[in-house]
Chain length 343, copies 2
């Protein structure tokens, strides 16, 4: 752990945080938040629909503000930092990325499931040609063992990514899980490594510290921890903790606290606490998109939905396999000899 | 770290959590919460005014329910666990403790400032004579170096305490701070060691894990993290995290989640989040009783109250020294050459 080195902070209040306000940021709110973060010294300010460029849709939820207006407002408000966008190949396209660059984006995070880095090769290549700082972002990293995570990280590096992120998208990792995965990637690639945490197990801040101990130098967060479910790492708290632990971030602790309390808190739809549903997602290590299907299956087979979630996590089921939840519930019910429905 | 050993959980929703509901628990709520925790398998269930036995007063806030009614209701609801009370020598007396034992208390935590264990000798002696499981509880442990904490722990042990607690009352510790203090006490005493966390830096859960790694075997928490300011360790999350990390607690994860969401959450006055004021208390490592005096002094000398808090923490000022806050503010203002008031 080298505390002399600079820790780079990425604020994703206006991207991942957007899930928690139903993607309803106004242009004025985007300006105020992006401008406040920039004045506080945040280096990367991520602005996109919660599911990335072109995420605004029937499937993922419509944004209140058009993507172009969002990016232009943020670009105007940011003087020193880098306007950053997220791209999920399959949702966003190369055209969306080129458009974002024209609107002022200086960095992009190309995100894939932890085992699917190969679908990002073209997007990373184009991002580099556009002159963008390019991050490869491995989602749901808890689902793969360290050797798989590092293999995928090396793929990203071979495509030209400038920074590789390990993301604990379900907030399912313990500090030790973070250390082994981040440490494996740090040892395997030459580029800097980052970590993106979620707070489902109340460990987002501690896991961020664990990532630094394992050699990471980029960390994510959101004001007040804004984000789906239990939310993300609370960036103003993280800033204070890093300062207290002796790390340098270049972010003004008081200023970012003020952005959180005066600008972001008043527009939140609900407090960012760990209720039982996100706690169970983190405990089981499963996608939030499984919840609704799980509740339905639990009712049908008279099961505790928590038992289904734990079983889905045990089987390492991934997004897109939602239709199999009923099968899993049926098998659980059979095993318990409880329900006769569904036979 | 020996994961085979049993971790003992102490729930303090009905004591430390009481601060966050202005000590307004009703008899029905006390029965429901104590009964729920007991059914979930929690071993120690702490019930007292937030400031301990006899805390109900003009100075510390009146309890809605009389102490006797509180204890009798809890004792009736608890079948397997131990009804536990807190005693702060100077607020509660030996008579209060004897009364609590008659009402059904089976355990007592005798709490002092981290440097004042010697004021607890008589109380610990009487507690042992009453047949109570007796904890020595060192508050604000971040203010003393490990060698001082272990010296005070040994005093408690010499008086007969069955368990020694290191308490991070201001939520000011980083995991490393916890490890060195808890580790020092574990090495110095023969009795089991516990850790009480606060969440001002979003590290309560992680610090609890760090305490176990350093050899502790008792941990505190409250449902939904209920407590003053940023609150305590969220006990249902802690239960899940300990389970996931391979520790045994004897607590049913689903049942304690249900108590938190169905019984405790509906009676909370506000969500338990990390707003700026508790964040600053944890960052600076100072008492919450300093806040009001600090805001007044900041206004008088046109200072940022946060600068005053940081200075108070740097000087390791303790409770009772509130009148010196104006002096500290005056000196800060002089140094900044800002204000001419107060001369």
């Amino acid at each position: 752990m080298n505390k002399e080195k600079m820790i780079h902070l990425v604020d994703t209040t206006l991207r991942d945080g957007s899930h928690a306000v139903s993607h309803e940021y106004t242009v004025e709110q985007i300006s105020a938040i992006a401008g406040g973060l920039d004045a506080a010294g945040v280096e990367y300010i991520e602005v996109s629909h919660g599911d990335g460029l072109a995420g605004s849709s029937f499937n993922y939820g419509w944004s209140l503000t058009r993507e172009e207006d969002m990016l232009i407002a943020a670009a105007k408000a940011i003087k020193k930092g880098k306007l950053t966008v997220l791209l999920l190949p399959g949702i966003g396209t190369v055209e969306n990325l080129e458009h974002a660059a024209r609107c002022g984006a200086k960095a992009v995070r190309v995100a894939t499931h932890v085992t699917e880095a190969d679908i990002a090769e073209q997007h990373i290549g184009i991002a580099k040609k556009l002159g963008l700082k390019t991050f490869g972002f491995l989602m749901m990293s808890h689902m793969a063992p360290p050797e798989k995570v590092l293999e995928q990280a090396k793929l990203f590096e071979s495509y030209g990514a400038d920074i590789i992120y390990v993301a604990d998208s379900a907030g399912a990792m313990l500090p030790e899980d973070v250390k082994v995965r981040v440490g494996a990637v740090v040892d395997a690639v030459k580029v800097p490594v980052g970590f993106h945490a979620h707070n489902n197990l109340s460990l987002a801040t501690a896991n961020s510290l664990a990532a630094l101990e394992a050699g990471a130098s980029f960390l994510d967060g959101t004001c007040r921890g804004l984000g789906a479910g239990a939310g993300n790492t609370q960036i103003e708290v993280l800033t204070g903790v890093l300062d207290k632990a002796g790390y340098q971030t270049g972010v003004d602790f008081y200023k970012i606290m003020d952005v959180a309390e005066e600008v972001v808190e008043p527009i939140m739809h609900r407090p960012q606490v760990v209720r039982n549903a996100p706690l169970m997602l983190g405990y089981a290590g499963v996608y939030s998109s499984f919840l609704l299907h799980t509740y339905r299956a639990a009712e049908k087979f008279r099961l505790d939905p928590r038992d289904i979630l734990v079983e889905l996590g045990r089987r390492r089921m991934v997004g897109g396999q939602e239709d199999m939840i009923v099968d899993v519930a049926y098998q659980l019910a059979q095993k318990k000899g409880g329900s006769h429905e569904g036979r």
